[in-house]
């Protein structure tokens, strides 16, 4: 509870920090914020061209199948890979002033969420022009995105705090995110795997999240109820556990950075 009280007291700092994250990211690049559209778009193009040849393609509209998964995945990876060093790079200020340190990872995730909603325009445009059309289930998207944010934040609490002490986390995480990309049913459909081993795939919360996005956008149904419960419980658990780890480690931040 003290987290929310603290965040409220420091809401102005949180706000300016989020703005800085959003604006600062593409600072100095010629196309600016346009990159938050272009990046995932180019990624989708590459996969859409290459993968139908490699994989047995059973989807009617592989491009849309891909795009509704890659944009949310992009949100996850940007937050995790760019946020892992968020405490470390702010070392200068951590040594000199007190403020609730949780603000740093929270800003990264909030900025990521805003960016996700901006790049979601691409998803909408693609669905519109592909003729797949929308259903009322699209209203689930903000809810799923918020669960994803809580999950990412829990992870980021742990990663950014440990990164201060062991700098390898930053590099290791890049590898794990890449590994997870192929372990999550983004490029393929999970039914490709026999039922016997499919459950392993679904230990990964991102698999459930991606499926949820795909259900509401591509298949136009409600997300699976069991999946939702699993990710909500897991996300809240990770968030609380992450916060505890962060609280424990933050006491040494000023001496370690």
């Amino acid at each position: 509870m003290s987290l929310f009280k603290n965040l409220y007291a420091y809401r102005e700092l949180l706000k300016t920090n989020i703005q800085k994250e959003i604006r600062g990211k593409y600072k100095g690049s010629f196309l600016g914020v346009l990159w938050s559209f272009l990046n995932p778009l180019l990624m989708v193009l590459v996969y859409a061209i290459v993968f139908p040849y490699i994989l047995r393609n059973t989807e009617d509209n592989y491009l849309i199948f891909l795009i509704v998964a890659i944009i949310p995945w992009n949100f996850f990876t940007t937050v995790i890979t760019q946020g892992t060093n968020c405490v470390w790079i702010n070392g200068g200020i951590i040594k000199k002033v007190y403020f609730p340190r949780e603000i740093l990872p929270i800003s990264v995730v909030s900025a990521g969420l805003v960016n996700f909603f901006i790049s979601f325009i691409i998803v909408i445009l693609f669905i519109l022009f592909s003729g797949i059309g929308f259903s009322i289930h699209i209203l689930w998207v903000p809810f799923i995105a918020i669960i994803q944010s809580i999950l990412s934040l829990g992870l980021l609490f742990i990663l950014s705090a440990i990164d201060v002490y062991v700098r390898d986390v930053e590099y290791l995480i890049n590898f794990f995110v890449m590994l997870l990309f192929y372990a999550t049913p983004i490029l393929y459909n999970a039914n490709m795997f026999p039922l016997k081993i499919r459950w392993v795939l679904y230990l990964n919360p991102m698999a459930h999240l991606i499926d949820a996005y795909r259900n509401v956008l591509y298949y136009k149904t409600t997300p699976s109820f069991g999946s939702l419960i699993y990710i909500v419980v897991l996300s809240i658990f990770l968030f609380v556990f992450g916060l505890l780890v962060f609280r424990k480690l933050e006491k040494g931040f000023a001496e370690e950075v």
């Binding site: 062991v166 390898d168 006491k251």
Partner: protein, 247 residues
């Protein structure tokens, strides 16, 4: 009991703080593994079981030679670092000026930095809007306020930082050896402002080597020596003994 407790703005209870001094600090996995056994460190105890209570509205000067633990004590009070044992309780909104312009963004203008810096001190936008004219006036930066701070001289930098910190309306103000910066005119102005804050019943803790300033401003002086309180009392009593020892 409770009303008695809240008499104090800052309570430091049996605090010990030590730092590990590494000869070679391991920061990566490889270094951790390679230096597993050889990662030599020495424990340096900056504060040894120190206890002190500062009443609300008191103006306290911390004195002591370099390395005696004064700055460590201030950092502990701000919650930048945490004690190894013991407890620190502060009551009320706290602002610290440990290093000038901490958190200034070089490419932002002075005005933008006021917003950013005051936000770090926990002010909201409307709070800052109310105070911004006072802050700019106090800093005497004039038109320079809309230039990026990287173009500022160190004096201007310090004036801006001090103006922000002093106008955030905190209950407790911690200041670490910074009054010495700035020209005579601005120093006097800061001094007057501190007197004014003192009269409005703020709690102020100052670390300074300017004993004249401490004598004029503070009602209490605490002499810290090698991590413990050597002497605590009115500046009239403490300062002469401190000077005696220094000679």
């Amino acid at each position: 009991m409770k009303s008695n407790d809240s008499l104090y703005a800052i309570e430091v209870i049996n605090v010990t703080k030590s730092f590990k001094i590494y000869y070679d600090k391991a920061h990566t996995l490889k270094e951790y593994l390679v230096f597993w056994k050889t990662n030599k460190n020495e424990l340096y105890t900056a504060l040894k079981n120190i206890s002190l209570k500062i009443k609300k509205g008191e103006t306290v000067g911390l004195i002591g030679v370099n390395g005696s633990g004064k700055s460590t004590l201030l950092k502990l009070m701000t919650k930048i670092i945490y004690p190894n044992s013991g407890k620190i309780i502060t009551r009320g909104k706290l602002t610290s000026l440990l290093e000038l312009g901490a958190g200034f963004h070089q490419d932002f203008t002075g005005r933008e930095n006021i917003y950013f810096n005051a936000a770090i001190f926990g002010l909201t936008r409307s709070d800052i809007d109310k105070r911004i004219d006072d802050i700019i006036a106090f800093s005497e930066l004039g038109d320079f306020i809309d230039n990026p701070v990287r173009t500022y001289s160190s004096g201007m930098y310090m004036r801006l930082a001090f103006s922000i910190a002093i106008n955030v309306d905190a209950d407790i103000l911690l200041i670490d050896e910074i009054l010495a910066v700035g020209d005579q005119h601005f120093q006097d102005k800061c001094f007057n402002k501190l007197e004014e804050l003192k009269k409005s019943n703020k709690t102020i803790v100052i670390v300074s080597h300017d004993l004249g300033q401490i004598e004029k401003l503070c009602d209490r002086a605490i002499w810290i020596y090698e991590g413990h309180v050597q002497m605590d009392g009115s500046p009239k009593n403490v300062l002469p003994s401190y000077l005696e020892r220094c000679r």
